[in-house]
Amino acid sequence: MSSNSDKRNSDSDLKIVLVGQPNCGKSTIFNEVAGYRSISSNFPGATIQYTKSRVSVEGKVCELVDLPGVYSLSSFDEAERVSQQYLINEPVDVVVNVIDASLLGRSLELTLQLLDLKIPMVICLNMADEAEKKGIFIDTSELSKKLGVHVVTTVASRGRGIDNLFKSVVETAEKGTTGNIIKNSRDVEIIIAKLAEILKNSLDSSLPFLGRLLAVKLLENDPFFVDYINKSHPELTKAIEDFQKELSRTHGRPSDAVMNGERHALSLTIFEDVTHLGKPKRDLRKSVDKVLMHNVWGYFFLILFLFIFFNTIFRLGALVEAPMMALVEKGVQETARIFGSGSMAAMVSGAVINGFGGGLAIILPYLFPFLFGLALLEDIGYLPRVAFLMDAFMHKIGLHGKAVIPAVIGYGCNVPAIMATRILESPRDRFIASLIAAMVPCAARMTIIMGLVGFYLGGTAAMLIYLLNLIVISISGRVLSKLLPEVTPGMLLEIPQYQVPRLGTLLQKTWLRLKEFIFIAWPLLVGGSIVLGFIEYFNFSVFINKMLSPITWILGLPSQTGITLIFGVFKKELSMLMLFQAMGTRDLLTVMTYGQILVFTVFVVFYVPCVATIGALYKAIGSKRMILITVFTFILALVIGFLTRVLTWVVW
């Protein structure tokens, strides 16, 4: 494509893009070639991620891009729109269409859409071993002949066939093989041709999408292209609608359904022509689901797995955290010695070390193992099962099964949890899920629950706080979903086969999510720590305690606790540490009643999320809703704190 070559970055010879349906093994291929040295980046204006890397293939420097997994190319949902736009606008040399060979029939629908783009293409039939287990034997040369592109068989999880794949990619790039356009039924093709002709005559010929591709998309009623034409060439709208109506009239269903139906039929025909079916082997993994997705045992194992998961992380984390915090403490003392105790320089450097070290003490012992474990559950294929099991419960709070994922992540840290709400389809669902994610007691709040209520009032009381939190979250979700009465699109989720995860892929996923914490939350922690340093340095605490006295008065807490609440906004567990400092003792019972300890903990667990979480909320759902959640949780905490006070007053 000549118009594209001048847009090309001069520092790579080839731009190769991996496209495929979710769970086809695209990322495994990417990692196999890129060797985990990938750079991740965001699409402008969207939260969907793609990864790219510079790799050397057959002596050429290539840019390899891994687009998000999509079932088809359209602009109906975000991931698809983003992939479609990328393929249309970027100077792509070769598209590698990765296909799960065991799902060839369904996957070919995406392949047909990619062929319409007329970009040089290679087909990668991945998971060939899975297909044979299912009794599907594919004649690759026949498939290659039909589609007019190279077809390479791979088993990416074992690194098989990758060399061949990229040899074909380079060859295809050199020859510029774009493959065949597979024709629909005659009457449909006539309409496509007529519309394409009209478009060609009235549109600017420099458009990256023209002719057949555009005609097909318009007949499919694809929002991006329809909008584009309506805005730039309103005079064509009528003609397009007429063609849509004609198609719909002759086939007795809407034009989009006709186009999809045509593609489905074509895919199945090709599938049947190039495969022969044998006897499927017995698959043990099917039996696993008889237990793990069972209506009773499924829940038993879900609870068991989560228990083991969290227990392991918190035990391991505690082992690492203590010596790290000691090191941070030592660093603060050391700087105090160098700059002179009480000097501003000592205060600032101490605050920086505290913020930096505090972040490290969350990341290394808790967040890293947590995110790694999550990636493990994800790559094994367990998370979709969790979504299946939890769907009915999530519907009670106006969401659907997939929303359980951010909620579970929230127990580790709210920041990646809020980031994970992007798996949900509608903005309304993402908003409700974000509120829930922000209210789930994260690891930091767990230390407070354990350190105060657990320590002074016992484990049962601590468990009750978790239970209370769960109830409040359910009610909040329910109320919010009633206030935003939009029907959730409902769950539609592929349940993939269980897979043996690969360490490299796990580490890469973990790193991608860890980065979100490192670049959003960590700087905020350091900044917050410095602000707190100044508050202490200029002895603002008396002033702040006075300012917060209405809150401490409502809750019936000693006024010195006011300042600790501010600390908690920056970093939840600081609330507890500062409580000891503000009260001047580690033995709280000498200065506070059991009731006050309980009220304090309940308030701190529920009130505004920490700055890092607020930052994540801002990025995920925008400033208005971020403020809404912050204010809501604050009022909620005040109410629940007050009720707890009344309750303790009645009990004690």
Partner: protein
């Protein structure tokens, strides 16, 4: 046998999809997951308390929320 929704379908029996009611959005999402009018599907499992329905279609398993499952109407394979 009359046509029924997959919510009421018997488990582990082949049915043929007769109709997908509902709007463009639902139809399109189901199409993408490989569920079309004319496809053969098998209901494998249905969740408790109005949970989702798990079906097998063209060799893959798909969990469909109850609301959307009610839009898929199937009949006996002839």
């Amino acid at each position: 046998m009359d046509n029924i929704t997959i919510v009421n379908a018997k488990k582990n029996i082949e049915y043929i999809v007769q109709e997908i009611s509902g709007g463009v959005g639902a139809r399109r999402r189901l199409n993408q997951m490989g569920i079309h009018v004319g496809d053969i599907i098998i209901v494998r499992r249905s969740g408790i308390m109005g949970g989702p329905v798990l079906i097998e279609v063209n060799g893959s398993e798909v969990a469909i929320g109850r609301g959307m499952a009610k839009k898929i109407i199937v009949g006996a394979v002839r």
